[in-house]
Structures are given as C-alpha cells and as structure tokens.
Symmetry: C2
Subunit: 339 residues, 2 copies
Amino acid sequence: MGDPQGSGPVTLAEVAAAAGVSPSTVSRILNGSAVVSAAKQQAVHEAIARLGFVPNPVARGLAGGRTLSVGVITQALDSPFYGIAMRGIEESLAPTGYIPLFVSGHWDEREEMRCIDTLRARRVDGLIILTGRLGDGALADCARTMPVVVTGRALSAPGLFAIDFDNFEGGRLATEHLLALGHRRIAFISGDPKHPDALERLRGYRAALEAAGVAYDPALVVPGAYNERSGLEATERLIRSRRRFTAIFAANDQMAIGAVLALHERSLRVPQDISIVGFDDVPASAFAIPSLSTIRQPAYDHGRLAAAAIVALLRGQEPDRVAPPPLLVVRQSTQPPKA
Amino acid sequence: MGDPQGSGPVTLAEVAAAAGVSPSTVSRILNGSAVVSAAKQQAVHEAIARLGFVPNPVARGLAGGRTLSVGVITQALDSPFYGIAMRGIEESLAPTGYIPLFVSGHWDEREEMRCIDTLRARRVDGLIILTGRLGDGALADCARTMPVVVTGRALSAPGLFAIDFDNFEGGRLATEHLLALGHRRIAFISGDPKHPDALERLRGYRAALEAAGVAYDPALVVPGAYNERSGLEATERLIRSRRRFTAIFAANDQMAIGAVLALHERSLRVPQDISIVGFDDVPASAFAIPSLSTIRQPAYDHGRLAAAAIVALLRGQEPDRVAPPPLLVVRQSTQPPKA
DNA sequence: TTGTATGCGTTATCAG
DNA sequence: CTGATAACGCATACAA
C-alpha cells in the first residue's frame, strides 16, 4: 500500500538505474513492446518490486499519446438505471488498465457536446456514450477523432460501434402483455418525445395496438421526463382528461412508480383498478408494492458490453456484435381488467 | 465545438508564434502567474480564440505537477444516495476547472485502499472520500500526500477536512419520533455494524430509548446491508423471532422499503400494523406507498460542500466548517401503535 | 515585463 | 537485443 518510503514516487529512470539497464529497456518490459533478455527482465522486475515503482500515467499520456482512460457520458450520475450501467463499465474496464471518466450530459445535446469537449481536452483514448442526445452525424464526426461506443441506437460508422437495445420490441412486448390480459384502453406515458428511445417505445406501443386491432388514441399518450414526479403528473393529467383507460404503460419504471402513487391518491388500486407496466426493471421495481411488471433492460450488461467494445476498438479489434434482447417481466402490477 | 480544422490539437507554442510572443508569456496569461502587458494579453487572447487553443491537461500535469483532477471515492456507482452526492460534487466542481474521477470502494476497506492507489497513480490533486471504510489513521496518512476531504465522520488532521453528519442525532430523532407516537417496542435494522455510520445511528437509537425509559432489547436489533433485499430479510428474521414490535427504524431508506415489502407479504400493513422510519430521504421515499417517514440527509449538499472544501484546500484556504443537520421528515409510514 | 533554457517521466526513433 | 537521444506540451526558475 502506497510507497514504503515517504520519498515520493519512484521513476522509471530510477528503476533502470537500480536494475543496471537503460530506461528504454524498462519501458520495453513494461509495455511488451520488444523482446528483452530473460536476465534483464528478471532484474527489472525485481527492481520494480523492490522500489514499489508505479508508472506515471500522466507522463505516459504525454509521451505515448495514450492516457489509458475512456470518457463515459452518462445522462445522470444519480440515475438508478445509468448507475448500473456505470457499474458494469467500471468493473469491466478495471482489469484492462483503462479507467473511466464519468461525466453527465443531463439529457441535453449542448451539454453533451461540452462533455465531449472536456473529455477530448483530457485526452481520453475513447468514448462511451450512454443513450446520448447527439445526432448521428455529430457522433460519426466525433468518431473520426477517437473510437466511440454508443448505446441505445443502431448506427454504423468508422470508429463507431453501437450497442442497440430493441426499444421498439420492448414497447411492443409491454403493450402486448396488457392486450393479452384483455386491456383495450391503454395509456402511454412517454419519455421526452425528442428522444429516439421514447419514440421507439411509442412505436412499439402503436404496433402492438394495431396488431390487436385496437385503435390508437392520441389522447391516451402523455409525455413524461423519466422521473417519478413526471409520471405522477402525467397520470394526473390523464385522470383529469376523463378519458377512460384500464392500464398504463410507462416508458420507464420511475414514471411507473409515480403513476402508481397518483392512482393511489385517487384511491385507484393497482392492479385491481388499473394495471401498470414499466420499462427498465430497475432494482427498486421488484420491491415496489405492488411489484412492478416491466420490460427488463439489462443495464449492467450494456455497461459491460460497452466497455468491452471500446477496449476492443482501442486494441484495433472488432467488438462482438451482441444485443441483449428485451424481456417481459410479469409481476404484480398487471392483471386482467375488471369486467 | 471541436477544432475547426482536422489538423489536430493546437499547442501553446503555436499560439505563442501566432501572437508573436514567447511560450512563457502565453503560459503566464493562462495561469495568471505574472503580470503581462495589455497589448500582449490582447494578442494572445485573440490567437487563442482564433486557433481554438485548449491547454493540454496531460502536459500541464507533467510540467506543473497538478492535474486539475480530484479523485472521488464513492461506495457504489449505482446508489441513489451517493449518486446524488456525486451530482453535487460534479456540479460544484465544474466551474472551478477541476474534474472529478469517480471510483467505487464497495464498502470495502481493501478496495478503498486500491482505489486510493489508483487515484494517486493518476496524480489526482486531491481526494474526496464519501463515507469511507478506512481507519482514521490511514486517512491521516493519506492526507500527508494530498488534501483529503471525508464525509460522514468527525476527524481532524493536517491536510484533512471532515464533513460530518450527525448520525447519532439522526438515529435519535427517528427513534424519538416513534416513541413520541407511543411506540415502545421498536426494532432497529442496522447497517453493517463495522461501519461508524451504522454504529452512530444505533447509538442514537439507544440514547432515545434510554431517555424515554424504554429498555434496550438486543433481540430487536438486526443487521442489514443497506439495500432493499437485506431490509426484507432482516424483517423476516425479526418476524420469525416471534419478538413483538410495533415499529421499525431502518438505518437507511432502501432497507426500509425492503422491510415494508416483507411486512406486506405477511399481510401486515404499514403504518396501521407496523410503523416504519427510514434514513437518508432518497427521492424514491417520497413516492413509496406509503410514503416513508425518514431522516433527511442532504446528500446533494454534502457533495457540494465536499467539493467546495477540497477546492479550498487545494487553494491553500481554510474550508467552511458547516454541517447540515439531520432533519426528521414525517410522512405516511408512521402513526401511533394500535391499542 | 519578457524571453531562454530546462525539466516533468515516459515512449519512440534511431543507431549499434 | 540494447542504449543513447529526441520528442510530448507545458510550467518555471533564471536571466535580461
């Protein structure tokens, strides 16, 4: 732990001196950038261990042009969903020697741009963007500078790798579940309508309705902002509109939780009076009362995959092209409508 | 946005050349490290703007020994509580030019030590440790290398600044609230008993009981792990023990939520049959059913204060010594016990 | 007030 | 296979 002496960090040059070799040789051993005689390897490794040498990433960054860091743009540092993805990224990156730099874009295109500038200035070697707001063009542009991995959209460009999640299918599954239970008047609390995610889920919702021969009623679709309060308010608007509905599909779990509360305050019970399906399957959803039926989006896996992909790109390899499918999780917040 | 040309990053030397001054002059202007004539200032600023120059933090770090980054050790990247603190840190750090490096210690002393080593290797200028597991000695040790700010404990050492939260008082307030409602048999779901936080809250619990003349019953105290599942399991243990209790004080909101679910599964209603108080006041607690009475711990402010403190230390100033007090938030999960 | 020279710790390019 | 030597981009004594 730390250096035994308080004499400050040991340098590569000191290791070289102690091992009786040149700095270049130490560097070569560290990076495996050339073959070195076994004897010197031995000597150098001993010196490293003895002196407790740790390479200075800052100097490495300057000299080698690589900082061994990857920027991660998340949308919120305090989101239950992105938080899990961040955990996946950190854990998956750790053994590779890369370190993540987390910054948050707050679902805002301009802020996201600023984040990229900040990270680029910090000379990150690559970029992971979790469900970004940036246009495909800007992303492709960015990918010309450094490898980029984006989640939540399908996209292909040089140096760019997309880990898509089938939001359309997720939206379809959720709605289909409610339809199968017998619901016909199904409200949809959407995310920010400017976001591809939200639009895809809406598309899935409409596709399922259409497939079931249920007419689409725009009055049953209300926007939200992906947090509890907006779900609550959206539901209140829905109720005040006097439009009849027997089920709600919320574009994420947090809004679904808000919806449950709004109904509760009007003495409407879930699922006896109104059924609710969420989206994401954040941990809290399993502990809600009633536990929330939802579409599982494996955030942790997304994180792991994104990290693996950026490392692959950084190493000049081709990332695995895998996409975890959306999965319907049926819990207690859904049941057939009252007769 | 980015550089106009694809010609790669502009260097300070290029700015100097363009402005017709020496590199040192540009550096001086950038850092305000000396007085420069107005004319040259003008010229340099123009050149900077025209060329879109952005200083390279990596080179700066090497040359100046400062990386303008501060390491932040959080316990989990996906915690609703720490997430908010992280947000406070990021937002408060942004205008100062410092960037946070978030890593997670997973409530483990050895991992925390590794985090510190990683961050030290990255040459962060300072360190913020959110509710760390490390002993006071190790912290003081660490603070001899660089400025350190810790939250959640009282501690004083050179280069070390502690932002304490009165967990004792919080625990006392929560218990007192239940006592005031008439509860006498109050269970306590503790956090990891090895952690100071948990111990302090327990102490507060016991102090309140004592003050009210209620005997302390160790059988009513069960450990948890600060997540929903552990709260659920702890409550099940409590129920299986056949020990009578009319209220539960959980050492954090997530465990409280788990407790509510455990009771629900046994058809015990909150608050009619059992009252529950949590701790932290995470956003979800206001949207739970029933909404959770809890002790508010202003995580966002903690983050802001920690960031402000580390910046102050970094500037050689004395941080403000302020501690947001614990606050009882009464919602719907508590009421007098049944007769 | 300003410029020159040097160094930060490593990698990369050369010779040998 | 190995060792000098030159960058990397900036900050900072030092000199002027």
